[in-house]
């Protein structure tokens, strides 16, 4: 892990290379994190991957986080790894929720689908990093599946773990747990729109 001054140095150089890309840093539990502007995330990742002396070439993990009461609401977290130096660096892209905090992610069925039918303007969007890190393909699909974050330029952005016709973004914090009735033979007619 880069130590706290090393992290500040990286943030400084990144801000020199791409103005205003780093919004903040934190260093806790021995792990370093850069919070970056979601529109500049490709610049940041590309810089961290290609600049001599940085060379974070391995994307260990990519995942989404929903910090619901906080603003900006969403985070896409990239766990980068420099294998020769065994240094990990977390990059978190901060994303606002374009739909506001009132009515999204909720699972009630009659509402029009907020990902497939609507233009995806109501979903937060970020550039896909598949061109830099091919490993991100499945993981970006997973983040899209669970958080409804659109990855621009992803080759095949579909749901991956949930059924293809599923409505809603199940891992958002305002998506209730246990909100779906389980269909049995005795109650299948009572479950709304079970036949679709």
């Amino acid at each position: 892990m880069p130590d706290a001054p090393g992290l500040e140095l990286i943030a400084q150089e990144l801000n020199d290379a791409s103005e205003g890309s780093v919004l903040g840093t934190y260093h806790e539990h021995g792990q370093a994190c850069l919070i970056v502007d979601s529109d500049r995330v490709l610049d940041v990742l590309g810089w961290l991957r290609h600049t001599p002396g940085q060379e974070y070439r391995f994307l260990a993990s990519l995942h989404g986080v929903d910090y619901l009461p906080a603003e900006p609401r969403f985070g896409v977290v990239y766990e980068l790894l420099n294998m020769p130096r065994v240094e990990r660096l977390r990059v978190r892209a901060a994303l606002d929720d374009p739909a506001g905090s009132a009515d999204e992610g909720a699972p009630d069925r009659p509402r029009p689908r907020s990902g497939e039918d609507d233009p995806q303007t109501l979903l937060p969007a970020i550039d896909s990093c598949v061109s830099l890190f091919p490993t991100a393909e499945f993981q970006e699909r997973e983040v899209y599946d669970f958080f409804g974050i659109v990855f621009r330029g992803h080759p095949d952005l579909r749901r991956i773990l949930m059924p293809e016709d599923y409505v809603g973004w199940p891992q958002r914090r305002d998506f209730p747990l246990g909100g779906e009735p389980v269909i049995f033979t005795h109650n299948e007619r009572e479950v709304p729109r079970w036949f679709e």
């Binding site: 806790e28 539990h29 021995g30 792990q31 994190c33 070439r57 391995f58 994307l59 260990a60 993990s61 995942h63 986080v65 929903d66 910090y67 977290v77 766990e79 294998m83 065994v86 990990r88 977390r90 890190f133 091919p134 490993t135 991100a136 393909e137 499945f138 993981q139 997973e142 669970f146 749901r159 991956i160 773990l161 949930m162 059924p163 199940p170 891992q171 914090r173 998506f175 747990l177």
Partner: protein, 429 residues
């Protein structure tokens, strides 16, 4: 053209097939196939489903395969059939109740799932675990690695037609499960690791049984290698099949034995010292070519190294407590409950509510039998995590299957999948 005389007058003329003046192309079946391929190549592509229910997919994995004859031209893995929403459910459980949940993801390496999660929470709590707990954790992790590799070896050899391997491997796997049952009370999904250490010390007689197992295991591995290494079918099906070069594997995020078989000596046990691994002497087996045979050799060799690690752990097992003495996190010892009011209060608070974790986020990666198993936990203050994410190695490694298989035969696809060792419980979570 309808035959004259067969139709009744006035009836509409039926469309019937016209017999063309055909010409036989070529003199043999091979020539004819080649001629047809030249005329209409796209007609030869056949898209089929392999799975979801297929004995060779090691779970509920569906592969959409485009075939040109026997040759795989494209491949798309479709997953999610056993998705159970474990990550979402974890957000509604207090930290100590999450442990049995995450164990059930990758059901062959449950100790690793526990270690990834407990290590992550300990990092958030900045809690040190006692040395005996570190050693006991390593002991169970390495036993679990042997168990996982034995299941892999048995089922993969079965995929390639070596039926007897399955029985031999499951015989030895059962001995590992017996050991787990002895030390933890359960054969699978043991919930043995706790935040702060391990649940219980190893019982009397466990060391004797484990040493007997360790002394037998190397010769058993020799026997397995003798069965497979001289097997002409096994060799010709695994050698030089499914090669993806090292840089491409790194781009695809592949880790673990697959990456080591391609010649990259990357093992988190060595490079990121945690638990008792820095005290132990072991080697990282690596391959040279990166084909299926190397993957098999690397895993088998890893079992030998795990046996060595376990023997060293038994030799150097330090005395002392096996769980941390932090009463805000760890349950007080049972014998204190009747005599100490304070212990009773702590016990009550921990069981009814659980412990609180200060806000923060951490990523903890360990080397599971399939590669880098990472756990990312976001804590926001209360006794439940705000987000638990598992970076499962099978999920990421599965992306390499396409590169391994395209251009090869369907039979090689089965071999590649077997040597990839995906666990669908971990992929779908």
């Amino acid at each position: 053209m309808s035959r004259p005389g067969t139709e009744t007058p006035g009836a509409p003329e039926r469309e019937t097939l016209e017999r063309t003046e055909g010409e036989v192309v070529g003199t043999s079946a091979v020539e004819r196939t080649a001629a047809v391929e030249e005329l209409e190549p796209e007609h030869e592509l056949l898209t089929i489903n392999m799975g979801p229910h297929h004995p060779a997919t090691h779970g509920v994995l569906r592969l959409l395969v485009s075939l040109e004859g026997e040759v795989v031209r494209d491949l798309k893995p479709i997953v999610g059939y056993v998705h159970t929403g474990i990550e979402k459910n974890c957000e509604d459980k207090s930290y100590w109740k999450v442990i049995p949940f995450v164990e059930r993801m990758d059901y062959l390496s449950y100790f690793f799932n526990m270690e990834a999660f407990c290590g992550c929470v300990e990092r958030l709590l900045e809690l040190e675990i006692p040395p005996r707990a570190e050693y006991l954790r390593v002991l169970h992790l390495e036993l679990n690695r042997i168990h996982s590799h034995l299941v892999w070896l048995g089922t993969s050899a079965l995929d390639l037609g070596a039926m007897s391997m399955f029985f031999y491997c499951f015989r030895d796997r059962d001995r590992v499960l017996d050991l787990f049952e002895m030390s933890t009370g359960q054969r699978m999904h043991t919930r043995y690791f706790q935040v702060g250490g391990v649940f219980e010390d190893i019982p009397v007689g466990f060391e004797r049984n484990l040493r007997a197992f360790c002394s037998e295991m190397p010769s058993r591995i020799d026997q397995y290698m003798a069965i497979l290494d001289r097997n002409e079918i096994f060799l010709s099906r695994t050698r030089n099949v499914g090669i993806v070069d090292r840089d491409r594997l790194l781009d695809l995020g592949v880790s673990g034995p697959l990456l080591r078989a391609a010649g990259e000596p990357w093992d988190l046990r060595k490079v990121a010292p945690h638990l008792a691994y820095p005290d132990l002497d072991f080697q990282i087996p690596i391959g040279t070519v990166g084909d299926g045979y190397d993957r098999y050799r690397v895993r088998v060799q890893e079992m030998r190294e795990s046996v060595r690690i376990i023997e060293q752990v038994l030799d150097g097992l330090p005395e002392g407590p096996w769980i941390a003495d932090d009463r805000k996190v760890v349950l007080p010892p049972r014998d204190e409950l009747p005599v100490s009011m304070e212990a009773l209060i702590h016990h009550f608070k921990l069981v009814t509510e659980g412990f609180r974790v200060p806000p923060g986020e951490a990523y903890n990666a360990i080397d599971s039998p399939r590669g880098e198993l990472g756990c990312f936990v976001v804590a926001d203050g209360p006794d439940k995590p705000a987000r638990v994410h598992f970076r499962d190695p099978s999920f990421v490694n599965l992306q390499a299957l396409r590169e391994m298989s395209v251009g090869g035969y369907v039979a090689d696809l089965i071999q590649n999948l077997a040597m990839l060792d995906p666990i669908l419980g971990g992929i779908d979570r």
